[in-house]
């Protein structure tokens, strides 16, 4: 990186805000998509909106690409550095700025860790609903970038439903203050548009989110199945019966084994083929009604044991097993390819079967652990990245799985985003005109295409479409 640029940035961010030494930059070479790596030329860590804006003005002047980064737990390469670019991390933007209990909202800096917000809200009897399994590490800014989900998004919806306002620094350093909470957007809904933009529109520095009252009663149920098909069918039945628990999660046999042999052992019995975690929240009457309606449906589909967590400790343990499932897979293989796809909820069994067949046909193992209630599959494939041939088979299986899901009316990603990983697959799902509209909107935010280049939008799709104009006008 040009020494002058580094000096200009140091003048604003101080020494600790500019990481120029290679040893410190290496940590940023990838996000959770382990096989895509590039040591960034420079990493900067501004402390607030003002510093972010000043730094981005400098980068704009020099025409340098920018990759926003939260905690780097993303699984699609959204925060993978790009050659010749600067990574802007939010690690020093960790303040919860305000909790407005009366209006049930909070204003936080983008680098606040998801679970820290939940803890801060708990003092007021409130909680922040989106709960990715990575919530102990991932940031609210990263959640906004990906429009992240989590088990409880079945009931409460993904991040976008909970974001009320944003302060955004645009690629040229201009500050866009959309933080005044509005019941409905005036003009266009820029806040809603920004959520899930994967770092291509700008950097969110402050985020206003909605908080919800902690439900008075929570019951967590564990249902055991002798086969995975039955568990999937049970979920389809729950959806068809229009029941509204707050979470419906499934873990398959390989995942259960991994969890049970790890420190996170949750008491999921080994030897069962699938466990389902169902949680019901609300008033006493609401929870009782939900649980009473759910149990017979599960039993009818072959659940041979339906247990309820007896106390908070058991509840926490059941969830720790689910949320630690990815980590636990480390015992099975050094790397894990975490697939993320969505299917209509009437087709769960069919598609889960297909994912298994696709992996087995390539001599790969598969661990399915997923947000079943939303139709959000996570067919995870253990592998060893040092084995190039195996990695090739893994990626091939991943592609086949996505194609099968799309063919069934599903989608490429339910929560992990497109990033670098699925950019090639965008054209399996979208036509030229679909992508053209997306490119045009991106160009309104970032006309020079300096934000997170090479992510989410296939480049040629954008170039092609810029020449098409029915009136023959040039743009």
């Amino acid at each position: 990186m040009d020494a002058r640029v580094v000096e200009e940035l140091r003048a604003i961010l101080g020494h600790s805000g500019v990481l120029a030494e290679r040893a410190r930059r290496v940590t940023y070479e990838s996000d959770g998509l382990a096989f895509a790596r590039h040591v960034p030329e420079l990493v900067i860590l501004p402390r607030d909106t003002r510093e972010t804006a000043a730094a981005m003005r400098i980068l704009h002047t020099h025409g340098i690409p920018i990759v926003p980064r939260g905690a780097g737990t993303g699984l699609s390469g959204g925060a993978t550095p790009v050659a010749g670019g600067v990574v802007i991390g939010t690690a020093r933007m960790r303040d919860v700025l305000e909790i407005d209990a009366e209006n049930r909202c909070a204003r936080v800096q983008a680098g606040v860790v998801n679970v820290d917000l939940t803890h801060a809200a708990a003092e007021h009897g409130l909680f922040y609903a989106p709960d990715p399994s990575s919530q102990k590490a991932c940031t609210i800014g990263g959640n906004v970038g990906e429009n992240s989900g989590g088990p409880h998004c079945f009931r409460y919806g993904s991040t976008t439903r909970h974001v009320l306002g944003l302060v955004i620094v645009l690629p040229d350093g201009e500050v866009l203050d959309l933080s005044r909470p509005a019941v409905d957007a005036q003009g266009y809904d820029l806040v809603g548009l920004f959520v899930g933009s994967e770092g291509l529109f700008g950097i969110a520095t402050e985020i206003t989110v909605a908080l919800l009252p902690v439900p008075p009663v929570t019951v967590t149920m564990l249902a055991l199945f002798r086969d995975l098909d039955a568990a999937c069918d049970a979920v389809s039945d729950l959806i068809a019966a229009r029941l509204e628990p707050s979470a419906i999660e499934i873990l398959d046999e390989l995942t259960i084994e991994a969890v049970e042999s790890s420190v996170l052992a949750a008491g999921y019995p080994k030897g069962v083929k699938a466990v389902m975690l169902v949680e019901a929240e609300g008033s006493e009457a609401e929870v009782a009604a939900t649980v009473d309606a759910i149990e017979p449906l599960l039993v009818a589909r072959g659940a041979f044991d339906v247990r309820r967590a007896r106390d908070e400790a058991e509840r926490a343990r059941l969830w720790a097993g689910r949320k630690g499932a990815y980590g636990a897979m480390g015992r099975v293989a050094p790397d894990l390819y975490v697939c993320d796809a969505v299917v209509p909820r009437t087709k769960l069994r069919e598609l889960v079967r297909q994912t298994i067949a696709i992996c087995h046909a390539r001599g790969l193992r598969i661990a399915n652990v997923f947000h079943a209630g939303d139709g959000n599959l996570h067919p995870n494939i253990p592998y060893d990245r040092r084995n190039a041939e195996e990695l090739r088979r893994v990626l091939e299986a991943g592609d086949e799985i996505l194609k099968a899901c799309i063919a069934a009316g599903g989608s490429l990603t339910g929560e992990h985003g497109v990033g670098l990983e699925k950019i090639g697959a965008m054209e399996w799902m979208f036509t030229g005109p679909d992508l053209d509209a997306q490119c045009r909107v991106r160009d309104a935010w970032d006309p020079l295409r300096r934000m997170n280049p090479g992510k989410l939008l296939p480049v040629h799709a954008c170039r092609e479409t810029r020449t098409r104009d029915p009136r023959g006008g040039t743009r």
Partner: protein, 395 residues
């Protein structure tokens, strides 16, 4: 406007063809549904062609087991509502929907419903769209899935854009469980303060509330302020909430809509909260929004204007529909300015064409981010095909 040619395509392809034709002719196009939200925007500066979704009607996919419905834009809202109700589903927003309210129009207008407290705003239910773009192509965004983050959320951009970025041609919506039981609580208060206090208590205590409103539609001074609360949900849930609310707030009696009883008919799923649309006499409505905790301040600002109003306030959400008469430009601008000073936002609805052309329907201030909104518009519609000058900031 009156000289515009009306074109009513029967398919998305025909709609796209009509747009391509208009583009070649350099005509300005206004996308319309049932025209029921015409007065929610300023009149367009120029319209050559009115592209109506009137005949673009019908359900495309409805898989009851999946809880999602996809319909063409011109499908009457009431028809969808009735269809999904037969399968135990509730279609949000709950809105009064005469036969000319279309699904595309509801989405384009960003209309939220009486059930917003329970189910959230409309934007949370729009899962995917098919939109005819200004170049005559058709662009899909989102999908028919309850969870999906593939590509930018352009459906959020089109929801509430009143067709200024494209013709919403097909809509996929998330469905909810229809309530097994409903109950309505009604109480009358001599003062606004005590009514608001009761309404806030209901929202604090309830998890099944669909709506809790405070209105002053009656003129009897002893009972001028009415609290109107609607609960919905599973039978056991509503029964138990009614009894706990009765214990906590004895002055609020409930009617429970037990199926097959006379009470069932007395509890509607939705009702028209805006006085202006229901009563004769030239009432016009302004929707005022503010932080819930700023509601009192907002209502005082309205009082100070000295204009006769009838209000329907939703204190938990910070929404007030105020009906006002008679209106001229001076009154509209004065009220808008008074409310802007206390940090509230306005959206005038129902003004006569002539007045609508002369006043700012969205208050004195331009929305934050207007420059970016203009760039988005310019990029999606570089040649100005869609009728303009209708939304905040002249979009």
């Amino acid at each position: 406007m009156s000289t515009a040619t009306v074109v009513a395509p029967r398919s998305i392809e025909e709609a796209a063809e009509a747009v391509r034709h208009a583009a070649r002719e350099r005509a300005v196009v206004l996308a319309t549904g049932g025209n029921t939200k015409r007065t929610w925007t300023k009149p367009a500066a120029r319209v050559d062609i009115e592209l109506s979704t009137r005949r673009l009607s019908g359900v495309v996919v409805y898989e009851p087991g999946d809880g999602v419905i996809t319909a063409l834009a011109g499908t009457p809202w009431a028809e969808l509502e009735a269809l999904v109700a037969r399968n135990g589903h509730h279609l949000s927003p709950a809105i009064p929907a005469p036969s000319n309210v279309t699904v595309g129009g509801v989405v384009a207008a960003g209309q939220s419903g009486m059930d917003r407290l329970r189910f959230g705003p409309l934007r949370d239910h729009v899962l995917g769209l098919r939109v005819v773009m200004a170049d005559g192509t058709t662009a899909k965004t989102g999908g028919r899935l309850v969870k999906n983050v593939t590509g930018f959320d352009l459906q959020r951009l089109h929801t509430g854009a009143h067709g200024t970025l494209g013709l919403v041609a097909e809509v996929s919506l998330r469905l909810h469980a229809a309530p097994g039981l409903r109950a309505v609580g009604l109480a009358f208060h001599p003062t606004r303060e005590s009514a608001l206090e009761m309404a806030r208590a209901v929202t604090r205590l309830s998890r099944a509330a669909w709506a809790v409103l405070v209105t002053d539609f009656t003129r009897d001074s002893e009972s001028k302020w009415m609290v109107n609360a609607l609960l919905g949900g599973g039978t056991a849930v509503v029964e138990s909430e009614v009894s706990s609310l009765q214990a906590a707030l004895p002055a609020l009696p409930w009617i429970v809509a037990r199926p097959g009883t006379r009470d069932e008919a007395q509890v509607p799923l939705t009702w028209n909260a805006s006085f202006g649309n229901e009563y004769p006499g030239g009432w016009r409505t302004v929707r005022i929004t503010c932080k819930p905790t700023a509601l009192n301040r907002t209502l005082f600002a309205l009082d100070r204007s000295g204009i006769e109003t009838r209000i329907a306030a939703n204190p938990a959400l910070g929404i007030v529909d105020a009906s006002i008469r008679p209106l001229d430009r001076g009154v509209v601008e004065r009220i808008s300015a008074d409310l802007a000073r206390v940090g509230a936002r306005v959206h005038w609805r129902g003004l006569e064409d002539e007045l609508r052309a002369r006043v700012d329907l969205f208050g004195p201030d331009e929305p934050a981010g207007i420059a970016l909104m203009r760039r988005i518009r310019a990029n999606l519609d570089p040649n100005g095909l869609w009728a303009t000058g209708r939304l905040a900031g002249g979009l």
